[in-house]
Amino acid sequence: MTDSSFQLKGSVVTTVLLDIQKFSLDDIIFHLKEKIEQVPHFFNQAPVIVDISKTKESIQLDQFEALIEALNALNLGVIGWRCDPARLPDWKATVTIPLLPASKARAINAESGAKSSDQQDVVVKKIVEERVVSHSSKVITKPIRSGQQVYSEGDLIVLAQVSEGAEVLADGNIHVYGALRGRALAGVKGDKNARIFCKSLEAELVSIAGNFMLSDALQKSIWKDSAQVLLNDENLDVVPL
């Protein structure tokens, strides 16, 4: 595979869905211009999908092409179109942009100021497709030595010690089944429910979602004994296990 000059990958991008309810070119362009002026950065070169599934009247090819041309002139990039599969126009093959399969996504109404009923003819909807990625935990079986750094996107489980001068970080919880002598930072992406568990607490620093505690303070609570560290409001609690 390495000698290939390209790789094929799947990708998910946020696109703007122009969901047309009533086909009126001037109306659409007029209201769209208004929207673009509110947030010009968002719409600059934004990929757009034109959806005509909800239009009741039939649209002619020249009308449709004029719409695409007008959208491109507004600095939008039309990447495809959608139509009700039961009512596909007979010119469907002559359009240069790809026909996309019908949407299953739930539409989010991005309308802000427009309240009058006639403006509802044109609704710009933004579809954000999110991938739910569950991060599995990382298990380390060997000691983490001074100068080493280990990061887990989920939980981090260390079955050995974490030496002084080493650093362990996790988006989730941190478990150390050995002495924790280095620095441990749980919930680094802001998860306030993350906790740190260890068999012997001798850490230089413990932190949960950015709230930290140094060894001086730790020595006054639990030291060289099994403990868990959790966040209570803005304070770290060190509790025996």
């Binding site: 060997k142 000691p143 983490i144 030595r145 001074s146 100068g147 080493q148 050995a160 010690q161 030496s163 002084e164 001068g165 080493a166 050995g178 002495a179 002598r181």
Partner: protein, 269 residues
Amino acid sequence: MAKIIVVTSGKGGVGKTTSSAAIGTGIALKGHKTVIIDFDVGLRNLDLVMGCERRVVYDFVNVINKEATLSQALIKDKRTKDLFILPASQTRDKDALTIEGVQQVLEDLAKEFDYIICDSPAGIEKGAQMALYFADVAIVVTNPEVSSVRDSDRILGILQSKSKRAEEGKEPIEEHLLLTRYHPERVAQGEMLSVSDVEDILAIPLLGVIPESEAVLKASNQGTPVILDEEADAGFAYTDAVDRLMGEERPLRFLEVQKKGFMKRLLGG
């Protein structure tokens, strides 16, 4: 298949070269054909400790650069059969070592020798990384004090991440702890870390404890490996360490505060 042993520590002055000389000699005394390579290019200490500094003509860097053959550069030890030394160059720096060059030399040596001891320079830079890269076994030399222990911990991390075995995902390097310059009196007074403190922090098996001894300095100055000193406890401790390295069981000695008459008792049998 030759076994490549690196003697390393991170920190300087803890006894790497002394230990390389002693352990190399100890292994050769057991009848295994052994070579000790000085990786400390630019400083060159091993030949002094081994007492062969006047016989150095070609060195490790000459061999890497193909300016000399291995047999020209290898120095045969006069005292111990089966022991050879490959000295370092004093007029070069550590950049003269290349991975390919070192690999070639080690491969050539492996055809003839049973054990290849790599005496690492101090630090964690190129020279030290080159010395440990091809190792099968690592002897981590540590003094019972916090900075030395911390540096040893750092070098253990490098052994696990930057060695050839680690990069190729093979079985990790076999690690051994050698505690040198141990002073039982000062440990008893709480001035030094104890054996168990160091073992607890580094969490690797203990190969041996070498007591602080005047014999070590004397041996270095005379150019005789301390293991050959038949009166020094440091010499006995190294012999024990070599036995353990070869898989034999030996109880730890010289950990207690010495009572008066200890030497007498030892010599008198």
